[in-house]
Amino acid sequence: MNRRKFIKETLKYGISAGIALTGIDKIFAASQSLIKDVETPGLIAIKGATPEKMFEKGIMAMGGMTRFIKKGQTVLVKPNIGWDVTPELAANTNPKLVGVIIKHCIDAGAKKVYVFDHTCDNWQKTYKNSGIEYAVKQAGGIMVPGNSVSNYQKVNITGGKILKSTSVHELLISSDVFINVPVLKSHGSAQLTIAMKNLMGVVWDRRFWHITDLHQCIADFTAFRKPDLTIVDAYNVMTEHGPRGTDGSDLVKMQSQIISTDIVAADAAAAKIFGVQPESIRHIKIAAEKGLGKINLDEINIKKIYL
């Protein structure tokens, strides 16, 4: 059995098993939501309120969380929880934003909402100090450690130019819905870290990326599992000395947020907010060339909300 046949066979059986399990009516409901997809915007840009409020408005314009989550599904929410610093320094995703997203997931009927990151600093201190562990527990999500190699599984990256296989966290494979919640920051080596760069937190061996070709690896990996929804936190933006930052003096309060189903478009829009042309960030450019999403924002249905 070659790979193609294998995938075909699994898909066939998977779909029929899925139909048997979920029932025809749910499939019908799903197809309805697909029809709605055409009408709703592909990218929402919100400005001028707290991260929670911007999300509430934005997701409503997106058609609500029920558009992405069916009852009983499991959800993986992946914020940026890289550094052992407090929320005010904005090196990690805003914890209140993470909390409100989880609430929406649960209200939409999600069975379980998992949150984790393969942190850069010591994971326990980072989970705690970032305020995200607390926010997740308050909202009813499950905070999962990302520090143990035993939770990572080796996968092949189809179409990867340099990154052909890597180990990813099992939740990325097993969760039904994947929501990516990056924070917009400057970055020493990747220039900017937004949505695609945030996916580095679900893989085990990042060192390989750095010693080969960081931008190519970021773009390659994006193809593995594109998030169903990307929410970019651009409330407080670290303009220099990212991704860790120093004392918060580099922050600019931009009060913005991007919500999109297209991870590349989300990166492109966030880069523009930052004041950088998306084409100048190599990994965004490569990903667009690979057809993973739109870099040209004119090709996508955008809705702007000013609060």
Binding site: C120, I211, T246, V252, G275
Partner: protein
């Protein structure tokens, strides 16, 4: 059971459990108290740090009042031996100990040698025979990995059910030298205490020797009364210190550790613990003795203090010391290798050494940047150290303490070698002492602003260059003060506030 014995057992269980919890990283701010009331750490504080003199004096005074209760209730290594002895009482066929010989000459010569080395700046011999640090190493190096292994099995099991309430525990990696040493001590002390009781405490232990000298003169003592005693020998049989000679009805007070086992064994009230002068002794004799004793300590401590200030010969050392250690001299002369800092270090960057400091400073920990790096917002090691080898340091102070300086070797760097973006060192650097300066093809190559580098080792730890790192930290033998990081002082080039979305 005799009330005194019961009291002794309850206190020692509390202390033992507290110590185990301490080394497992529970509530360090509270449990570290027990490490600070240990005799040898207190002695180091007095002679090398000139602090906490009262702790040392209280311990000596306690012994002067009640005998060596320190050895029977406060010393964790003593309690560990008592656990083995408990098993002997319970399960061994031969439950009784023999009366032991007091190897006076050997004991005091041996312990004097330890202290002479110590006061001339060599702490190794003291830390090898010192009870508290031996206990620490046994827990940290042998018991903890086993406990963590079991814990992690449960973590795996619970994860199957989406339960994440127990966390995967990470111990530091395996270090053969310190493991073998701790394991050997564990086995030897187990066998020794099972067969010979508190033999270690009365021959090799430096704390036992100091306290033995004092307990000779202590006010409360165990005494055999001539009238009631029938010389049955039961008291001598349960005496784990082997200090009772029931034929002559005498007790060697240098060896008695005040465990009160004899009191609860004697059925005839032939042995008692009280405040009584010897029959032929008047009150004046007693006061005279007390004053003599105090004067002896004063006399003894003066020359010792002079010795304590003697300097260690410094040599160039690539080793990086934790913030708070201040200097190689301070650290090497005070660290008794109890590995409490190793147990508490959240990133496990503090690791035990074997002989990296030279044989003079066996097993002392160091910052191991191959393993991990020092967290910017952390000062735990400095808060737990009981001897001031790592002196207490605030987080604000720590952030400006330069324990070493990063150096860059461009020919090893990924950016130079492969001409691709890397910048991991810059990414992890908490002060942005490592910046990326423009290099060819729009790439950035590391550059170090040494004045704001604090030597935390994040850059060295994450540097992916192989086989040799491109960026590494050279330790400061004497810690320096770093300049403030220059975050927002630079002129901002990009990321201006916008009113409308530019798309």
């Amino acid at each position: 059971m005799n009330k005194l014995k019961l009291f002794r057992i309850i206190i020692s269980i509390i202390i033992f459990v507290s110590f185990v919890l301490l080394f497992f990283g529970v509530f360090p701010s509270f449990f570290k108290f027990f490490a600070h009331i240990q005799l040898i750490p207190a002695l180091i504080n007095v002679f090398l740090n000139h602090t906490f003199i009262f702790v040392f004096l209280i311990l000596l005074f306690l012994t002067f009042l009640f005998g060596r209760v320190y050895c029977s209730t406060i010393c964790p290594f003593g309690i560990l031996q008592d656990i083995f002895i408990f098993f002997k009482y319970k399960f061994s066929k031969n439950k009784f100990f023999k009366t032991q010989k007091n190897y006076k000459v050997f004991r005091y010569v041996f312990v004097s040698v330890l202290f002479i080395f110590f006061f001339f700046g060599n702490i190794t011999f003291l830390s090898v025979f010192e009870p508290y640090s031996n206990f620490g190493r046994i827990i940290n190096e042998t018991i903890k990995p086993i406990a963590y292994f079991i814990n992690n099995l449960f973590v795996l099991l619970f994860q199957k059910f989406d339960l994440y309430f127990i966390k995967k525990a990470e111990t530091h990696s395996f270090y053969a030298g310190s493991f073998i040493f701790a394991f050997l001590v564990f086995i030897i002390i187990g066998l020794l205490s099972f067969f010979k009781g508190r033999f270690f405490c009365n021959t090799l232990c430096p704390a036992g020797a100091i306290l033995g000298l004092i307990s000779k003169f202590s006010i409360y003592k165990i005494k055999i009364s001539n009238e009631q005693c029938v010389s049955c020998g039961l008291c001598a049989g349960v005496c784990k210190a082997g200090c009772i000679d029931f034929n002559n009805k005498t007790i060697d007070y240098e060896m008695c550790i005040s465990c009160f086992n004899c009191l609860s064994m004697c059925k005839k009230n032939g042995i008692e613990y009280n405040f009584k002068l010897k029959e032929d002794e008047t009150r004046r004799d007693f006061i005279n003795k007390t004053i003599k004793g105090i004067l002896f300590f004063v006399m003894a401590s003066t020359p010792l203090k002079l010795l304590a200030n003697s300097k260690i010969i410094k040599k160039k050392n690539p080793i990086v010391l934790p913030p708070g250690a201040q200097s190689l001299q301070n650290f090497n002369s005070k660290c008794i290798s109890c590995h409490l800092c190793v147990a508490h270090c959240p990133t496990k960057v503090l690791t035990p050494t074997t002989y990296e400091y030279g044989f003079k400073n066996f097993l002392q920990p160091k910052m191991n940047y191959m393993q991990s790096y020092c967290l910017y917002d952390c000062n735990i090691c400095s808060t737990v150290c009981p001897t001031g080898a790592i002196k207490p340091i605030s987080i604000a102070e720590k952030k400006l303490t330069q324990i070493g300086v990063a150096k860059f070797e461009m020919t090893n760097c990924v950016v130079y070698e492969k001409e691709t973006d890397c910048g991991l060192c810059n990414e992890y650097c908490p002060t942005k002492a490592v910046i990326l300066k423009p290099y060819k093809n729009g790439l950035g190559i590391p550059d170090i602003r040494e004045n704001i580098c604090i030597g935390c080792g994040a850059c060295e730890n994450v540097c992916p260059a192989q086989p040799n790192k491109a960026i590494y930290v050279e330790g400061n033998l004497k810690h320096k003060k770093a300049s403030l990081p220059q975050g927002g002082k630079q002129k901002r080039k990009r990321g201006q506030q916008i009113n409308e979305f530019p798309f």
